[in-house]
Amino acid sequence: MTSNQRIGAGQFFLMIFLSRVVLTLTYSINSGGHTISNADWFAALFMPLILLIMGVPAFVFLHHSPGGDLCDFAFTLGTGVGKAVSLLYGLLFLLLTFTPVARFSFFVTSTTQTEKGEWFFPLLIMAAVSFGAAKGVQAIARTGAVLAVIGIAAIAAIVLALIPRMDMLNIYNPLAGGIREVGSSVLLLIANSLELSMLYMLAPHIRGSVKKAYLGYCVTAPLMLFLVLFTVMAVLGPYATLQLFPFYSVAGIAKIGELTNLSALEASVWIVGVFAKCALYLYFSYRCLSKVVSLPHRWMWFVLLGSLSAIAAAMSSDNVKKAQLNFSVVGSLWINAIFLIVLPLILTVAGAIKRRKQNATMDSMVG
């Protein structure tokens, strides 16, 4: 990326935080068969350490990377490797683009606007997302920073408004269901940590300390998770297990002054979060896939990828069974493992071996 595409560390922090907020708000009881319980907010307390550990491969890669992103690094190992990695990550980011859109579409057609067809929101959102992505990463990061602050304020307002409705009788020993339940919650939270992929694409182009920004995320994101999940359980109790989108339902009970239903506020935070997050991922997808194939004009990429995402989102949210795939924990865990840990580590090691060979060759030539 050129210098006009550098973003601040604070903006990176807010973007990655916003991505997590969106996922938390989209928590559904359909999440891979997991039932919401007190184990969930308890599991959030382990996330700072887990996120730190999950970030290690990324920082190892960054330490060894000469300055580009993951795809650029792959090209240094060979054109074939570069194209293959770019294609894989391009498709990953495309998946990460349409999945939140599909979830949102499923949500809104299940709750407030049931009369809308399954195509409406994917097309609407992807039109906006494509526009945002075409503006470049700087614009997306700046917008995301503002939206993140608004989102945090909105969630804080909802949580504060719900304090009088909290019943501590709903909060019981999180280990009551056994370690398995806590483990299942932890796995769910790990499965929803794909926003770490931002590190591989953005980190080389961040002005400021990436480590501090990531550390901040490791502390604040689990805190936000904890607050949201704790609030849901404290207010709804067992009723949460009957709600498709518990935080949306709980926001409907919140009351601030004359406003007696804050569920629209929660859904608005959700959709702007989806916008910022998906615009960034769509941009990443373009960055990766444009290294594999070239199109005459830049705007064609955003039209093409936006259309593909809209189609994928619409088709994957038109019935409950397909929607459950969007929330699949096992699938997400595999994707996490492959794209956040295995592939980057393989590339890092391959890069280190290649550099060592090159140094040895140069030494022998000099000697």
Partner: protein, 369 residues
């Protein structure tokens, strides 16, 4: 040029094919304020109280009522839509009233549709009535308030002789799906009597799978208020030493601890009541009794009353209207899982009560030391 065409085509597709025009405008919506559910002859009868906009010729009352009958609640509600040609809008629904007959078909059968509905708010008030639910929706209020709103306000804010009873959709459903397998549910009984246009509360009906319904006694209502920390100007009349003292409770706090002694739960309830002496009724004029004495007597009375009530309800009604099951689950979840049948566990429970009374104000009058 091509980009503009692309935008035009996309927007046309977006707004033409995706059903965005399917939204019903407000004038085609039935804004449902109250729902009454009755059951007779194996059918559900629903009565919907709908807001009527203030246009001439439609309704000067501000509301209209529609009814339909169906084999299920959903079927009956759908029939209203079909008969009126409008779309039901539940987001502004304030109250749902069930007749006893309907409730006896099973609580879940009655509330399931409302729980699944995405529009219905989680804090819709639920109430029960011995008579017909449809009749209850015709109560009058002050001004031009819709009866359903009057009823809802009365349920949420009104001064009944029992505090806010768990009658929200959320709390009712939560009890139905709690993980200790019991259903115990107090619901305010609301009635409309001849000659009285406004709704009045006629006791508390408790629902349980083994005990379809029973009515809370006065004694249980007292204890219910303390256990739920609801005070709100409750007057406690204490007969003591040939006097009758009316004590107004300012504040009540309670703590419940439970431990399991050889598979028997032992509940220890700690109550702190802060009250004022409002009135004494003495043959010898106004006399202020030794406050310490009065305090001790009150503490004994409350403790005994609480203990005996909790024991009695647990044994005779197999019903947990005092939320002890949730407390037991919170503090001893493993025991609840092992016990399986909470009803038996509660039946065998022991109860202890420690009360502290704080007399905040004693009013005017001479002090006879």
């Amino acid at each position: 040029m091509r980009r503009w065409i692309l935008w035009l085509v996309s927007l046309s597709l977006l707004f033409g094919l995706t059903g965005c025009s399917d939204t019903a405008p407000l004038k085609e919506k039935l804004i449902i304020e109250g729902i009454g559910v009755d059951y007779a002859e194996n059918r559900f009868e629903v009565t919907l109280q709908v807001y009527a906009p203030s246009t001439e010729g439609v309704s000067k009352k501000g509301y209209q009522t529609f009814s339909a009958v169906g084999e299920t609640l959903y079927q009956a509600l759908r029939l209203v839509d079909e008969n009126t040609g409008k779309y039901s809008y539940y987001s502004d629904t304030k109250v749902v009233v069930f007749s006893l007959d309907a409730l006896q078909k099973g609580l879940w059968n009655n509330v399931e549709y409302f729980v699944r509905s995405s529009e219905m708010g989680s804090n819709v008030a639920l109430a029960a009535t011995r008579g017909r639910a449809a009749d209850l929706l015709t109560v009058e209020g002050e001004g031009n308030n819709i009866p359903a709103r009057v009823l809802s306000n009365a349920l949420h804010y009104g001064k009944s002789d029992v505090g806010p009873i768990s009658g929200e959709l959320m709390t009712v459903s939560a009890m139905l799906v709690n993980d200790w397998g019991e259903v115990s549910l107090p619901m305010l009984a609301v009635e409309k009597k001849e000659g009285k246009g406004y709704p009045y509360f006629d006791g508390v009906l408790c629902f349980h799978q083994d005990t379809p319904q029973y009515q809370m006694t006065e004694q249980e209502k007292w204890v219910y208020n303390w256990m739920h920390e609801y005070y709100d100007d409750r007057a406690f009349v204490l007969p003591y030493d040939n006097h009758l003292y009316a004590l107004q409770i300012r504040d009540s706090k309670r703590k419940i601890k439970v431990y399991v002694d050889k598979d028997v739960p032992v509940f220890t309830v700690s109550l702190t009541l802060t009250c004022d002496i409002m009135e004494t009724n003495s043959a010898h004029g106004v006399v202020l009794t030794d406050l310490e004495d009065l305090k001790t007597k009150m503490e004994e009375t409350v403790s005994n009353l609480t203990r005996s009530t909790l024991q009695q309800v647990a044994v005779t009604q197999q019903c947990d209207v005092f939320d002890l099951g949730r407390t037991l689950r919170k503090q001893h979840h493993d025991f609840v899982r092992r016990a399986g049948d909470l009803s038996t566990a509660l039946k065998n429970s022991r109860f202890e009560c420690i009360t502290e009374v704080i007399i905040a104000r004693a009013g005017q009058g001479s002090v006879d030391e």
